[in-house]
Symmetry: D3
Subunit: 161 residues, 6 copies
């Protein structure tokens, strides 16, 4: 079975993320979407909230699981017997950073391959941070995130209620 | 009347910004230079100081106004009946970020168009942050910022007096 | 009156070109779409055919004219009293080439400004040459070019009749 | 079974191509390497020679086949019941062109997904044309192409014998 | 004597840095590796520790010195009678930032020239921060940093003892 | 003695080329500007004419020689005991192509190092081909090429006499 892992911070998951996860689910036998516990960045949502939003959003995709990990992605993959990392590409700057990460991961484990998939061009401008910025300022985020996520964002910013 | 809006943080305005503002003022009937109140970044100058420096620097351009806004740029534009956002381009990394912002703004309001204008190549290396870095270390910033701004920067760093 | 010139080879015009022309027509008082007579490249359509396809495709845009020119674009603009060149941007490689051309045109005439507008992201992959390649091999080009252009392409490749 | 198609002109196959083909063969159940018959470019080797060199070079990879096609890649894929296109990435310019092709192919057939894999960084400078240029001028191409290909190139340039 | 200066934060020095320093030492008569005292960033190692690791790592290169500076690099260079700044390039994003710095330094002192040298492609993914991230999570960093630096990193993260 | 080689087609030499050659002449003990005899491209000027224009243009630079070569640059450099290749950088697309060439040359000869120098930003849009295009269409090329070259270009296009 071909298992692919789709890592990210998903703070929160956007329709661009879901687009890539859906494409991955058609291309590999099983896809594990994983949220990293490591980062020292400040997140809006806790890791549990982010996983919950992912689970609800991916409910219709039978071969997709949601999980989280601590430590190195490469170690998590060995544990899960997964050999493919999925990364979505939007732009050149994405590409360079992801290439650096992919080469490092290859150095750490030669059996792991990173494959890049392309977001639908209608999501090419989408990122979790731009969605949060728009929501914070009262802009309409319909169509940019799953409905559930939209509601959570509005609650955080005390809008719409 | 064709009204264009030129947004930025202008902390402080540089000769590169003025170059773009001047080009915009020749290309559109009216240009509003706006400083955003939103950002959570730390600025060296208050919003009032930044607006004041912009006003003095743009004094010779009859069809240019200076203003500030809170919330979404797209809402400010509706208020002002403006349909064009002006962004200056220096480099590829500028371009990608600005493209993302422009696509998001287009999603939020289809009637707003972002147009990109090119800085004079002699300012291609200029940014507010590099100017502050140079001034802080006692480097000569003549020709990089309006004289008034140069004096303000020297005061902040207790230089030259 | 703000006159903008939108130059290109348009061999043939695509929906990506029309997207930019439409945006330009809303942003400036008058837009002249011009086909260059200079190039030594081999074209599929004659300059008259290319102009005719443009005219039919732009028929609904009242402030858009179609023309052609010989020599330097900058000289044509002086003749027409136009001060703005419109270029559509899709990708980074576009950007660099267009930046080079814009700087050269600025050197040749300081009063001419190049402004860049962004294609709808759904056309980000579109170019005249890729459309011709697809049509030549019998692929469906519906939605990529105006209907009239689609029919002309099929005739050239002896398809569909 | 997950079938991936790896298209190219392979004039001739290099060790960079083989690196990507090998990675693809580990990531998918079956890989078909296909040489296009369409292009109007001038090639050094005939399509039969290019296929022969690929076959010998891929002999050790059990799940890799070599084939050629006429027309659209997307039609070939339907015929073979393949849903994945593999493209190797070396640099930013690769990336933009391939992204354009991938979006066009997705438009032509929504069920086909392009996945990008990264060349070993030691081959990041390698291309068929640079290898031919070096060989033509008598430079050493050992390690850049399979031995068989190296011998064929030397024969063409009447070197070494 | 041609003196070149190789500035950086070196927190800590990696094998990618050493690769560039070694190439510089063969290309110029004398190379001074300098650590800046200015930055407001948080570093893992003190400036003394970073210099010490550089000194041990460069011990085999006779014409290389290690130093630090406060203020503007350009002023330090005048002091040392050095006219060449060496910067290593890995990727496009490096390139744009370094180009901006180089143009600013040229503006500050016309006699100073920045030259860019290319890292060995096997280090193209290497940076101090990615090495720290891997070490922190228990990944193997052998071959990425000098042995001494590897030991220091393990000590910091309480690993391996 | 540090000998640097500055290769190119120089068809014809522009002020951008001269800017790089001048900077190189200050950075290395001796600079050899070499025109390649290999290329299958069509040139406007013969190799002798291109060398002559270079010689006149570089007459004021004491440590600069002009030469031509056949075959591989790397072999020419061994012959001349030169270890440094100088390349001018203007833009990202330059950078990627040059990086590819530099890595190939390093593969062919480990003792040769390519160093990149940055053109004056006022020449960032300049290339031999754009100058020829402008001259052909009667545009003013003053300031873009040495006077001698300007006169030669006008003669070719039967202008100005």
């Amino acid at each position: 079975m071909r298992i692919a892992v789709c890592p990210g911070s998903f703070d929160p998951v956007t329709n661009g993320h879901l687009d890539i996860i859906t494409r991955a689910s058609k291309t590999f036998d099983k896809v594990i979407v994983v949220v990293s516990r490591n980062s020292s960045k400040n997140y809006m949502f806790t890791i549990e909230e982010r996983m919950e939003m992912l689970k609800v959003s991916c409910a219709g995709l039978d071969n997709v699981e949601v999980d989280c990990f601590t430590g190195l992605l490469i170690d998590y993959m060995t544990l899960k017997n997964a050999h493919v990392i999925i990364k979505g590409l939007r732009a050149v700057s994405d590409f360079e950073y992801e290439m650096q990460m992919a080469l490092m991961n290859r150095k750490l484990n030669q059996d792991v391959e990173t494959v890049f998939m392309m977001t639908n061009s209608k999501y090419s401008y989408l990122s979790s941070s731009i969605v949060k910025e728009v929501a914070k300022n009262g802009g309409c985020i319909k169509g940019l995130v799953p409905d559930l996520v939209g509601e959570e964002l509005l609650k955080r910013f005390n809008i719409g209620g």
